[in-house]
């Protein structure tokens, strides 16, 4: 394996990990509500921006991170409570427009509360890269990848071992049946927005030292996270992780070997190819219309 290829692979996995975390957020919300949350990228932005501004105000970084994540989770709860819950039973198009309304609102809010400039966060543990087989990887990339691994393990434990996690899975399989056995599906929906906000904010904080963060940073990240969730098959969080890594690596390889101008198009070309040839995603179940 050439050093150059390895280099591209490292950067692809790093950015892919971010897409994966955002994609998992999409999947978790979709599972409990069939809503595609187009404001998912804004949680990423809130995490990054809040951390940047808090640490600039003199708050120590670990505390700034905790506060930023907390803020995102509270906003996630409010979004569900104030925008999604009142729209219960709306059509797919209406819900799409509502979440896009949320996205526009949050970006407008960020421009007022923070500002319209680009910001960068200091790397968590120095800027000295580590050399592996001729390629170098920054310590921040390791933070990002480590974040994804921990999130995967925690989610796996949560969905398989805890009562709440199992209730979420049950809700995603069959909402009515879940209600019948006493699961409060409304609470599950709120929880799913908070989990998605948590994952988004964490990924926004982890990526902030690598990429710049700004009020509109979430737009493209959110759409690519959506691609990640869909490449794997909507509603399967683990498949979203695979989808995110796939999109990230393909993007990095395209930028490296083909054309950096069309890097942003890669995710969408992949998703179109997958949809055309495997309409339920790579690992998705086939949906059948019931009459």
């Amino acid at each position: 394996m050439s050093a150059q290829f390895l280099q591209f692979l490292f950067s692809g996995i790093t950015v892919g990990a971010i897409y994966a975390l955002v994609g998992v957020g999409f999947s978790v919300i979709y599972n409990s509500s069939n809503v595609i949350n187009f404001a998912q990228g804004e949680f990423v932005m809130i995490g990054g921006m809040a951390t940047v501004f808090l640490s600039a105000a003199g708050v120590p970084l670990p505390l700034a991170i905790i506060l930023a994540v907390l803020a995102a989770v509270i906003i996630g709860y409010l979004v569900e409570k104030l925008a999604i819950e009142p729209a219960k039973g709306s059509s797919v198009v209406n819900l799409i427009i509502i979440t896009i309304g949320v996205s526009i609102f949050l970006r407008g809010l960020a421009q007022v509360v923070f500002d319209r400039n680009f910001h960068s966060l200091k790397a968590f543990s120095g800027t000295e890269p580590i050399q592996i087989a001729g390629a170098s990887i920054t310590t921040q990339s390791l933070w990002v990848i480590g974040g994804l691994v921990i999130a995967t393990l925690v989610l796996g434990w949560f969905f398989n071992r805890t009562l709440t996690g199992k209730a979420m899975l049950a809700t995603s399989y069959n909402k009515d049946a879940a209600k019948l056995v006493g699961i409060n599906t409304g609470r599950i929906l709120q929880l799913s927005f908070m989990i998605a906000a948590f994952l988004g904010a964490v990924s926004g904080i982890l990526i902030a030292p690598i990429a710049l963060t700004y009020a509109n940073v979430g737009v493209m990240l959110g759409l690519k996270g959506f691609c990640a969730a869909m490449v794997g098959g909507l509603g399967n969080p683990m498949a979203a992780i695979a989808g995110g890594l796939l999109v990230g690596v393909a993007e990095a390889l395209t930028a490296g070997y083909l054309s950096s101008a069309y890097k942003d198009a890669v995710a969408f070309i992949i998703i179109l190819l997958v949809l055309f040839f495997m309409p339920s995603g790579l690992f998705g179940r086939k949906e059948v219309d019931k009459v």
């Binding site: 209406n94 526009i104 609102f105 421009q111 198009a265 998703i271």
Partner: protein, 314 residues
Amino acid sequence: MNNFLQARRAGLLMLALSMAVLPLLMVNSFHYDIAIMIGINAIVCVGLNLLIGYAGQVSLGHAGFFALGAYASTILTDSYGWPSIVAMLAGALLVGVLSFIVARPILRLKGHYLAMGTLGMGIIISIILNQEVDLTGGPDGMPVPSFVIFGWEPYGNQVWYWIVAIALFISVVVALNIVESPIGRALRSLHGSELAAGTMGVDTLRFKVLIFVVSAVMASLAGSLFAHYSGFLTPTEGDFFRSIEFVTMVVLGGMASTFGAVIGAAILTILPQILAAFHDYEMMMHGLVLMGIMIFMRKGLVPTISGWLRRKPS
């Protein structure tokens, strides 16, 4: 049926009347500018409403077709010296062929997958327009030569108002005719239940493809008009948010209501002018208005209001 024809004639009369009366109320060219933009957006929405409102198929990528029409007109007249009308028709043909090719695989998808497919298509078009700097001028945009119809060069907003008004009127008539034709009935049947429509012998995919192409071509023609009217074109006309704007206009006006699409376009074109008064808070207000409308008027304005009128006959 008779009732229906009457309602339709009344609607067309109302539209023609309001378009004729509007110039009496407009005092400066800024007013005309907004009216023209309403007309251009409305043409796209009338077409998009056939797809979303009647056939029940979402598209989050129609701004891509709008921008392709606009750029085709611009590039063919500017770099190749084609006559404006020929360039406009060539753009429409190009968009027609392109939308026909992508329609089959895309329209097999349903719900969120369809949304993702059309969104992806629109974003790819937008990225190409941004990156092919030699052809499109990239993000900085490019100037558009003026419109020439058989040697006549329309000048000024008042003339453009009438061009756009006539184009909109024709679009509405065409859309109403499609809705009333067997095609329209087939579309409504597949909106109700695609499976049932298929079982009854409706070739659902064929009709969906047909209406997708029609709506794309209407967006392309509107895009060409826009390019020549504005005189300068940037890729933001084809981005994701423009696509969302068109869809929101259709949903706001009311699904499956051709006149609703026009009203939705009018409201959302005027809205940013009103919200501009909020300066820094403009974006927040915009987001709130979108949420509010979708939560409190789920069916859109025209169906909601006509529902009220029916309940309380005065």
